[in-house]
């Protein structure tokens, strides 16, 4: 993994993490917004500017790839690189969680 990817995506923003997580299944931007809303009981509502910017940035960096367009909505899916980044992030969060459990 090159330095640029590490610098930008490790650690990740909550938005970035949820986008990658949701793109385990092919989905479009608004689909991700709805999914995240559902997963977080409406606490996290991803905003369109952030969503659009993140998707195009992640596509450029090769974390996700464009599949097809449906009714003016671009459908993306996670790539191998995206999975690798997601795994690093999951390990980090797991450790965070374990440490929290041990200390409290």
């Amino acid at each position: 993994m090159d330095a640029h990817i590490k610098k930008v995506y490790v650690p990740m923003t909550e938005t970035g993490f949820y986008i990658l997580l949701c793109l385990k299944e092919p989905n479009h931007g608004y689909g991700i917004v709805q999914k995240v809303k559902e997963l977080t009981n409406g606490d996290i509502v991803l905003a369109p500017g952030t969503m659009y910017g993140s998707l195009s940035k992640m596509e450029k960096d090769g974390l996700i790839s464009f599949l097809r367009e449906e009714e003016k909505r671009k459908i993306y899916v996670i790539t191998d690189l995206g999975n690798e980044v997601l795994r690093i992030e999951m390990n980090r969060i797991e450790r965070l969680y374990q440490n929290m459990r041990e200390m409290l």
Binding site: G29, Y30, T50, G53, R73
Partner: protein, 316 residues
């Protein structure tokens, strides 16, 4: 169609947050935005006063892929209005509770938006400054490029200088405004260093301009006394050269001027009120001779304004 009105508002490039606020306030007063035209005319149409949040995005990629870009915002409940100089305008009716909804939900994407504005709007200005204004200032200040320092170039040079200074002031203002945004969410010390560097850069640019003006106004010439006169070889003469000779009737002063730009004035006489010759490069005096009728001490005075060329004076 109801009543319309137009207001002029001047927002600098980084002031999009202020602009959003202004548009929301107008809508609350019953004026909804219909379009914006250059350089800052906001056209409104009368409507029911409502709480409406206005938001601006700057996303070149979005404008290029407009249908899916607009669709994403529409899905999230934002009405797309139009683009104006790279900014896309969105609005969303909202009740008091959800007023001020954002189109960005984290600081990273807010910073990205700022970076896009910087790349799209400020970088071209910087390029124009360094690739156009500075070189043109240098050329015209020094009278290069075929104009030979004539009045047109002279005026142009000072207009460019004024423009350059306006640019630097604007860059300073932009930097301050970007700093105001950035310090809200980027907490690291790096941003202070970054903005200090920007201001040092601006000072260097200002010094470069002052340097160009000083260099152009700095005299570079050589005066050589000959047996019967002198030779002035000027690359850039910006001062007065005065030579005195004791002459008697029957003497003649031969002057040969081979100008290569700028302005040169030459006067010959016993005192400034009593000149026996006066000429300048506008009249292209070239070669001439003056005969002396009264004896006395004569002054030959050469006044240059970025004068370039060779002047030979010989007394016989």
């Amino acid at each position: 169609m109801g009543k319309t009105k137009t207001e002029f508002k001047w927002y600098t490039i980084p002031q999009y947050r202020k602009e959003e606020q202004y548009l929301s306030e107008m809508h609350k007063k019953g004026w909804k935005l219909t379009r914006v035209s250059w350089p800052g005319f906001y056209h409104f149409e009368q409507c029911e006063p409502e709480n409406v949040t206005y938001r601006l995005d700057y996303n070149q990629e979005g404008i290029e892929n407009k249908s899916e870009y607009v669709q994403m915002f529409a899905d999230c409940g934002w009405e797309y209005l139009f683009d104006f100089v790279g900014y896309s305008y969105f609005r969303k009716a909202s009740d008091e509770a959800e007023m001020n909804e954002e189109i960005f939900c984290d600081d990273d994407s807010r910073l990205d938006m700022m970076r896009r504005v910087f790349k799209g709007r400020i970088v071209p200005l910087i390029v124009i400054f360094f690739c156009c204004i500075l070189p043109q200032l240098f050329i015209n200040m020094n009278g290069f490029g075929g104009g030979n320092g004539n009045i047109v170039q002279h005026v142009l040079a000072y207009l460019l200088l004024a423009l350059g200074i306006i640019y630097i002031v604007l860059f300073g203002i932009f930097a301050m405004q970007f700093y105001q945004y950035e310090k809200n969410f980027a907490s690291d010390e790096n941003i202070k260093t970054k903005y200090v560097c920007i201001f040092i850069g601006l000072i260097i640019a200002l010094m470069a301009m002052i340097g160009i003006v000083c260099w152009a106004n700095h005299s570079r010439y050589k005066v050589t006394d000959t047996e019967s006169g002198f030779i002035l070889d000027a690359e850039a003469l910006n001062e007065d050269i005065v030579k005195e000779y004791e002459l008697k009737p029957g003497d003649s002063i031969y002057v040969n001027h081979d100008g290569d730009g700028g302005e040169m004035y030459i006067s010959i006489g016993k005192d400034p009120q009593n000149l026996i010759f006066y000429g300048n490069t506008f009249d292209e005096f070239g070669e001439f001779a003056v005969s002396i009728e009264e004896s006395g001490i004569y002054q030959i005075k050469c006044v240059g304004k970025r004068a370039k060329g060779k002047l030979e004076v010989e007394i016989k």
